[in-house]
Amino acid sequence: MAQFWFYVFTLVFFLFDYFILAMGLNIQYGETGILNFAYIGFVAIGAYVTGAVSLPNSVGTAQQYIFGFNMPFPFSLLAGGVASMLLAVVVAAITLRRLRTDYLAMVLISLSLVLYDVINNYVRLFNGADGLYNVPQPMAGVLHLTSNAFVVFFACVTGVISLIMWAGMSRITRSPLGRTFRAIRDDPDVASALGKGVFRYQLTSMLIGSFYAGIGGGLLIQFGGSFNPTAWLPGETFVVFAVIIVGGVGNNVGLLMGALLVETLLIHLPAFLPDIPGHPGLIEYIDAMVIGVMLMVMLWFRPQGIIPEKIRRFALPVGELLNRDGHSVEAPVEVASTVTSATSIGETHEGNQG
């Protein structure tokens, strides 16, 4: 029975963790239109830095890594988020000023490959191809948790963190800043012509998304205790893309749905199934095919996702409905009568304020 709950809460952890990752990618791609094909690199930096600051000094251990501060949770997690944001500043400086759409995507995927090779081969950074392991489980010692109990505990912690981050993200996307992001997504030239410094806003969006990526990555290494290059092959970026495309780009509830369908049910649930006799690892390949087919089907038949972006309606000021509805200006305005229509703007203002 304990094993069953271990499985269930492992799935719950991945659901919430990928929800966080999906929110991060969504603000960049879904809200601001930045096709960040290097997203998994930001997740990895978050994971490595969280792990490296949580571990003790590497001298005398079998691993090689920088930092080694024995930093407690949640500061280690925040360090991962901040490190990912720093990477975003560098990447944005290289790419966002000059590149757009497909060219931006190509350069980003190239940067992701460069980052992958550097971390994989420069062993002194994060232990190279072996990656980091034996990363302490947050609070497990203090609360005297068994490994099964830790899974339940940490899945719940991740759930709470994801809900807080959801609240923060909703506030951003509903604000004028979120609206400006979407204006840049729809047409950066028009946004610029309206006085919006496109680079500044894209950088802001990259920073927010990278923070989410870093936190999501940090949670991954703290949950599993290890992280190595096989966990963040550049293709993993497309799993997060699949989450947001299937769930619904631009809709946070859709992202949770995407995380449930793609990450939890399609990727992690089958990992617990027994192998097909005589075909070890076949389930994993079938999984990848199913995700690919699902992505194509969604893009073909329902590109807006299962739960599409909502139309944002505004609560009208008090008395607004009484003042205006049924009085839409449909009649042609004569050139000669313009002074009347000009003054009507001021009159309506006064009416509203009263």
Binding site: P176, A183, D189, L194, T204, P332, V333, V335, T338
Partner: protein
């Protein structure tokens, strides 16, 4: 009560609002703009006319920062805006529309207007999380103003429709109303009457006169000379990238050079052009 002029950016007082001194722009071997020099008088409606290929839209692109000027100088009020970044020019009060309407398609009609005010407190992360009251107040003011403008432009009932769902004429109106929401001191309109029906031409003409009444200077590219004659105070004729003449429409009709280069074609083509 906040009036329209309260929000107009300061660009110096008196004198022309825009001075354009010998600007040039070449694409490969083609000199699209070849030393255009003109002034746009403050608080007037000025038309920029000329044959196709005269460089009118390129001039608008150069003035608004969408393209880099090869040589020459542009001054908005007292500020040199030559090759300033596009968004900085917009923040100084120069707005523009596009020849083919460019709506922010995924946003609603109302959101298209709400995004327009150039600097908003709600675009700062700090304010979003720590100054919610300021945001609420600002958003309410912007909402009231946007609804006023939408009502004036006959788009009020469409406020919750996505902008991409509008018809061509409605998109024209949306683009102009979005520019008005941004409270420009100088509004560049690139063929606002192109492809719209005669009734809508009347309405748009009315809106442009409204803008002038509220202190906005307008520079518009227009081929419809009836409209130019009726609403424009001043006309600049551009030909082959150069300023051919400036004056009122009446004066230009008597200018042989202008008649040969541009007006002659239209007069010969018959009325309604």
């Amino acid at each position: 009560m906040m009036t329209y002029q309260d929000t107009v950016a300061p660009t110096g007082v008196g004198g022309p609002i825009l001075r354009c001194d010998g600007i040039t722009k070449a694409f490969g071997g083609v000199n699209a703009v070849n030393g255009a020099t003109f002034e746009v008088p403050r608080n007037k409606i000025t038309a920029l006319i000329g044959p196709n290929g005269a460089g009118k839209t390129t001039v608008v692109n150069l003035l608004s920062g969408a393209m880099k000027i090869d040589s020459g100088k542009v001054q908005l009020g007292t500020t040199d805006i030559t090759n300033l970044e596009r968004y900085k020019i917009a923040r100084l009060g120069l707005m523009r529309t596009f020849q083919l309407s460019r709506e922010l398609g995924g946003l609603t009609v109302l959101e298209n207007l709400l995004v327009a005010p150039k600097v908003q407190a709600g675009e700062s992360l700090f304010n979003i999380f720590f100054r919610p009251r300021l945001l609420k107040r600002e958003e309410r003011q912007n909402l009231e103003r946007a609804l006023d403008i939408l009502q004036t432009y006959g788009l009020y009932d469409l406020r919750d429709n996505r902008a991409r769902e509008l018809s061509g004429g409605q998109k024209k109106l949306l683009e102009i109303s979005r520019g008005v929401m941004a409270a420009p001191s100088l509004f560049l309109l690139d063929e606002p009457m192109a492809g719209v029906n005669p009734a809508l031409i009347e309405r748009i003409g009315g809106y442009i006169l409204d803008m002038k009444a509220q202190g906005v200077t307008v520079l518009m590219i227009e081929h419809n000379l009836n409209v130019v004659e009726r609403i424009c105070d001043n006309v600049i004729v551009l030909a082959e990238g150069r300023t051919l003449a400036t004056g009122t429409m009446k004066e230009l009709r008597e200018n042989k050079e202008v008649v040969t280069a541009y007006l002659g074609e239209i007069i010969n083509a018959g009325p309604g052009h």
